[in-house]
């Protein structure tokens, strides 16, 4: 491989990525809040109570988007893992390691809120059915990816090992999604993501979709924050960080 092209990949991207994402961050935060506030308001206030589950079904408005995100983030990481392994793009590795704790957090939210929903409705905090178990495995895979990358000193080796582990873990995604179809589970089958009209009243569906969209922007927000922090930390001694520091100092001194 051409050495110049390789170094271009290694160093060229961050000095472009860092300032650009810095400008994007406030807009992403604004869009997140613009989706979250009506989503929460409709979900908690205006959506009618369910005919069977009463007001307890409102837990859905964090549980379902968090569970969707826990799977979406893994899928995005798996795509980045292919890019990282085939094209050796370091930015893809930074994206994976920055996403892992976010994905783990969403999986944890899905598990905890599911537990708080399961206790009053099913009569149990936790059962070892296929859906719950496969989601718990997803959480452990996220933690494994994070631990593996941080356990290996050489970040090039760490990035490759982490990408391979990410790809291996991707088989869990169809298992989670189809667990409620393939096996008898206590968990309900899909309400929205099925090849049919959603089995949920429109007034309950709209806040769910708003919350789901809000969580997408929340992920983007946290991801960019995390990637920027990780990039700075790793490239502390590099020229592009030096330039940023000098620009900051100039702006600071000029401001005084």
């Amino acid at each position: 491989m051409n050495i110049i092209a390789k170094w271009y990949y290694r160093l060229g991207a961050p000095n472009w990525f860092y300032p650009l994402t810095g400008k994007m961050l406030p807009w992403i935060a604004v869009i997140f809040l613009a989706l979250l506030i009506p989503g929460l308001y409709m979900g908690l206030f205006t959506a009618p109570a369910d005919y069977q589950q009463g007001d307890s079904f409102r837990i859905m408005y964090v549980h379902v988007p968090a569970a969707w995100m826990s799977m979406f983030i893994y899928f995005a990481m798996a795509v980045a893992a292919v890019v990282a392994l085939v094209w050796r793009v370091r930015m893809a590795e930074i994206m994976i390691i920055s996403s892992a704790p976010i994905g783990a957090s969403f999986a944890l939210i899905a598990l905890i809120t599911g537990s708080l929903w399961g206790k009053p409705m099913w009569g149990a905090w936790w059962v070892w059915d296929a859906r719950l178990t496969s989601e718990l495995i997803l959480l452990f895979i996220y933690l494994g990816i994070f631990a593996l990358y941080n356990a290996i000193e050489n970040k090039q080796t760490a990035g490759r090992a982490m990408s391979i582990l990410t790809l291996v873990g991707v088989v869990n995604l169809p298992i989670i999604h189809y667990s409620v179809v393939w096996w008898n589970t206590l968990h309900q089958a899909a309400t929205v993501s099925k090849f049919d009209t959603p089995s949920i009243h429109i007034d309950m569906l709209i806040p769910l979709l708003l919350m789901a969209a809000a969580f997408q922007f929340l992920y983007l927000w946290i991801l960019l924050l995390k990637m920027r922090a990780n990039l700075l930390e790793q490239d502390l001694h590099c020229g592009w960080v030096k330039k940023i520091i000098w620009d900051r100092r100039k702006a600071h001194n000029g401001g005084n």
Partner: protein
């Protein structure tokens, strides 16, 4: 793609295929164990273990729930719409327990073929709607399924 990248790409594909096949085989092998519960028909066919606790799932048969006065003991029948199984349980039932509801009970069969439950969980379905809509759907179904009484 350059030859090196092509080779790496095929390695990635190979890895994914290998892991998928391995997972598929593992799932095939453990499929029965990953069933959270047995249906009532499976139980009547003797597919459930006799010597240890297992879970039985089905819908509560309409008008089958009988509570013993003065105790928490309750008798009801579960069915998968083909085979009903008698169940007895003593304890607090989940909020969603009602006739027609999906229920999963954990316990074992006694000598009379009655399922003695130690734990009862309610399974809700994937439908969400306000009570008024549920009522009107019910009414519409009743109207279409039952011929008008003379």
């Amino acid at each position: 793609m350059s030859p090196v990248r092509k080779k790496r790409f095929y390695m990635v594909l190979l890895l994914l295929t290998g892991v998928s096949i391995a997972t598929f085989l593992i799932i095939q092998a453990f499929s029965q164990n990953m069933m959270f519960f047995f249906s009532t028909t499976e139980v009547k066919q003797g597919k459930a273990p006799a010597d240890r606790d297992f879970r039985l799932g089905g819908l509560v048969v309409n008008h089958s729930v009988q509570r013993e006065s003065g105790s928490l003991k309750v008798h009801f029948e579960l069915t998968d719409s083909q085979t009903p199984v008698k169940v007895e349980y003593s304890g607090i039932l989940p909020d969603l327990f009602r006739e027609g509801q999906g229920i999963i009970a954990k316990g074992r069969l006694n000598d009379q073929g009655v399922f003695v439950a130690k734990e009862v969980l309610a399974k809700h379905d994937e439908n969400y709607m306000p009570p008024e809509v549920a009522d009107s759907i019910n009414k519409a179904q009743l109207a279409s399924s039952e011929p008008v009484q003379p």
